[in-house]
């Protein structure tokens, strides 16, 4: 059983279909990125998963149960949907305190999560004066209150400064490393680069792809290797003779496919030639994704560049 399981989930608002027969699952111990452009249905899916909106069809389970059947939800699922959704006149600590009371979580835990997110110093400040970054941290503190095994974050880095983004990325990573299930949405594929282990990509409420980041990369990477050398002609000839497909990209640069970097280094050395630089091209997650879904999705033709 996966930590989060979604089957045939469908939600209509009037005539628009926000989520359309969506199915996917999320495993524990990993960060799963939930990606799609604005309006793709990410937030709606999360609201359906968390029992805030009612699905027209299909079901969503967390730890094998519907959200509304969880007896103490904050101890099972931590969620950050809209970090700004606090009463501006209430102090940060009191915001966490009413949440704690609702699930019989000891008040001492409130101070712990404030420490955890680095808000202990402003615990007694009213949230109306909080910056976006502080609101996000408070939202994460609220999600962590019940020490839940499953965490759901909707666009947690949206609008944050680079420090805040780095902090959240590190934090998400550490949660997964502790064995928790982390589902994090983003409309920017690049935001999840280096954090997500797994990607669920949706567009117009439908599943476009679910794949591990490693799979995505290996599927897209055609193994191109960049080489820089002062002896361009000789190196090109030597590599071509060894079976590489070689293209010159400048007076001292070339790109090789069909040969691994270690093999290239060996051939160049054996030919008595010189290498200044040698590196394998790494496709960005976004490039990898676009490549994977290029032909598969009618959607891509209408709205190019999912995640841009």
């Amino acid at each position: 059983m996966s930590a989060i399981e979604i089957h045939g989930l469908t939600k209509r608002y009037g005539r628009t279909i926000a989520v359309d027969d969506l199915s996917f699952s999320v495993e524990s111990g990993r960060v799963t990125g939930f990606v799609g452009p604005n309006g793709a249905g990410k937030s709606t899916t999360m609201r359906l998963l968390l029992g805030l909106d009612a699905a027209d069809a299909g079901d969503a389970h967390v730890s094998g149960k519907r959200y509304r059947d969880l007896s103490a939800p904050l101890r099972e699922v931590g969620a950050l949907l809209d970090a700004g959704a606090t009463h501006p006149g209430r102090r940060a600590r009191n915001h966490l305190l009413w949440l704690a009371r609702s699930n019989r979580i000891p008040a001492a835990r409130v101070d712990e999560v404030l420490d955890l997110v680095g808000l202990a110093a402003v615990a007694r400040k009213r949230t109306g004066g909080f910056s976006l970054g502080m609101e996000q941290r408070l939202g994460i503190a609220a999600a962590m209150l019940g020490d839940p095994p499953v965490l759901v974050f909707d666009e947690p880095v949206n609008g944050l400064d680079p420090d805040g983004i780095r902090w959240i990325r590190t934090f998400l990573r550490s949660l997964a490393d502790e064995g928790r299930t982390v589902l994090v949405s983003s409309h920017l594929m690049s935001e999840l680069e280096g954090v997500a282990d797994e990607l669920v990509v949706i567009g117009r409420g439908r599943l476009i792809a679910q794949a591990s980041v490693a799979e995505l990369r290996s599927a897209s990477s055609d193994g191109r290797v960049h080489v820089r050398t002062p002896q361009l002609t000789e190196v090109m000839a030597a590599l071509a003779a060894a079976g590489g497909v070689v293209t010159s990209t400048g007076s001292d640069a070339l790109v090789v496919s069909g040969l691994e970097p270690d093999r290239i280094a060996q051939i160049v050395a054996e030919s008595g030639l010189r290498l200044d630089e040698l590196y394998r091209e790494r496709a960005s997650l976004e490039d990898a994704f676009i490549e994977l879904t290029r032909d598969a999705v009618e959607y891509a033709a209408e709205r190019p560049g999912v995640g841009s």
Binding site: R47, S71, L81, W98, R104, P106, D115, G146
Partner: protein
């Protein structure tokens, strides 16, 4: 840093937790204290103004007047009550305007329990404070009235809370305030919009009173008898005149209870069906 054991405690987000949670919410925003302060202050202020400015024609011990000095002393509450009603609206609509309602429902997905807990806390706080305010208005009002000739010599024997009818009026006024808060919260929970809900609550309180001047007598009497304020405040009567059209005190409070129940029941029905 020690880590508090969060798991392992057998627990459930149940009704008791919802009550405790709503209590924390209510006492940790400034608007609560302000509205309640205005509620008590306005009630006492208006009672003082009305009773200190009133005078008696001058009766005698043998020939008593027919002024309802209990009702007169509690009249300030009619004005203060508006602040209590606004507080009750805000308690629910502010959750919708800030989006906090979603956090509330994440913490406890049993929505009717949450709304019921909110109602108990707000209704309970207004009831308790309403009883105290009502008693204070009564004492202050009687003191002013005694000084203005409403005394034994003027044909008005002293009234105290030991008198059955005075006690009924004072307690009933507190109950009316609690019911008014429940009514306002119910309207807020149905409309989920601060301005809209406050408009409806104020209209329910004041529109009938204003309309009385324009309506034909037969309809006006009926409106005065059954409108929220008219029915609820029938409990303050201790003198029944020949031309009195009000409901009996008990029946009036019962009508006010129906006013309180209807929007709340609609809200309890709706909250499980609407997307948050």
């Amino acid at each position: 840093m020690s880590v508090t054991a969060v798991t392992g405690v057998v627990s459930r987000a149940g009704a008791l937790q919802a009550l405790r949670s709503e209590w924390v919410k209510l006492r940790t925003v400034r608007s609560t204290a302000w509205s309640l302060l205005v509620f008590v202050g306005i009630s006492i202020l208006f009672t003082s103004l009305l009773t200190s400015g009133s005078s008696t024609e001058g009766g005698s011990p043998g020939h008593g007047g027919d002024n309802d000095i209990v009702l007169d002393s509690l009249a300030g509450v009619w004005f203060g009550a508006i602040a209590a009603a606004v507080l009750a609206v805000l308690v629910i609509t502010s959750e919708y305007s800030t989006g906090m309602i979603r956090t509330t429902l994440l913490a406890n997905p049993r929505r009717r329990t949450v709304l019921a807990a909110k109602t108990v806390i707000v209704g309970g706080v207004v009831l308790v404070l309403g009883l105290a305010t009502s008693a204070a208005c009564f004492q202050i009002g009687q003191w002013f009235l005694r000084g203005n000739g409403f005394n034994y010599d003027g044909g008005y024997p002293a009234v105290t809370l030991a008198d059955h009818e005075a006690l009924r009026a004072v307690l009933g006024t507190g109950v009316y305030l609690g019911l008014l808060a429940v009514f306002a919260l119910g309207v807020g929970a149905v409309l989920r919009h601060t301005a809209g809900a406050i408009t409806v609550v104020l209209a329910a309180l004041l529109a009938p009173v204003i309309a009385l001047n324009f309506l034909p007598d037969s309809i006006a009497d009926w409106v005065e008898r059954y409108c929220l304020m008219g029915a609820g405040l029938a409990i303050q009567q201790t003198v029944v005149r020949d031309d009195s059209i009000a409901l009996s005190p008990e029946r009036g409070l019962l009508v006010a209870a129906v006013y309180a129940a209807v929007p709340l029941l609609v809200a309890l029905w709706l909250i499980g069906r609407r997307d948050a």
